[in-house]
Amino acid sequence: MSQLRVPVGPTDHIRGNLAAAVTLVEYGDYQCPHCAMAHPVVASIRQQLGPNLCFVFRHFPLTEIHPFAEPAAESAEFAGEHGRFWDMHDGLFENHDNLALPTLLDLARLLDLPRAELQDVLATEKYQPAIQSDFIGGVRSGVNGTPAFFINGVRHDGSYAYKDLMISIQAALAR
């Protein structure tokens, strides 16, 4: 059974309270259509579980098949630096099939983020080390595709359908 090897910590992007009964960690890629389909599922689960759930997102860009995955992840980190990670995260998934530069700049504009600065970030791949660190931590934890979910540190091997994820989460809650 594959286990999360990198514990959730202060450098993670966290939605909810770290002390919640269930921690759901997702390794995802903003250009991955399956991750985009899982996005509203995660939103429903967060709504359903409220304070009992802590959600963490880590980058797992499959750059060999998704050329926009890396710039999208850079954009999310950039927004994070300005305190808007989750707004950018949501915007990226809503536009997963159209993540070329104009979309990334539009999303920055909608969030009142400095677009010229984002262009510098993309040109220099400023956050590449942090993104790569997420990726390697995922690989060592047994991430086997995107999206990959870990529930209280254990890889969820079922589908990302609401019902399947909830069954695993309820089991974790019962332990």
């Binding site: 990198v6 399956h34 998704h66 060592r140 047994g142 890889r155």
Partner: protein, 175 residues
Amino acid sequence: MSEILAPATKAPDFRLKVTPDQELTLGDLLGKPVILAFYPADWSPVCGDQMTLYNQILPEFRKFDAELLGISVDGVWCHQAFARERNLHFPLLADFHPKGAVAKLYGAYREQEGVCERALFVIDAKGMIAWSYRSPIAVNPGADGILDALERLPKHGQSPEETNDVTVASARRAN
């Protein structure tokens, strides 16, 4: 169901087609670690399928000087189209004729379905199996087990007890 070959077994040599006009033998790769990844079929209908994932992780395998070989019963032309579409940078071997002969040698053939198991073998520089694992057919095993096994291999000129364990925590995002 047959048992896959266990560690400390000599890895059976084989000669298989890697392109329409090239063949590869396991013996050609003596002197470096080899990862043999048997998988059921090309063209899995998900983004993060096993071969795409391993392709993305290739730089990590190369840090151990390891060669990755994918093996399925698909023919060379199928492999070629698949490798091109997914931008794969490692060889796919065609265990096509006689069908599944090499998979059978490794105990990694599913007679009933006529496809390879999802079975992984890490073979050391001397041609001995150092680690093997069979995943449930529907579960992509990821790469954590492979990297752990590569890490445990004695490094060149080192005795086994001198191998270093790389801690994942040290690879964590510096913030």
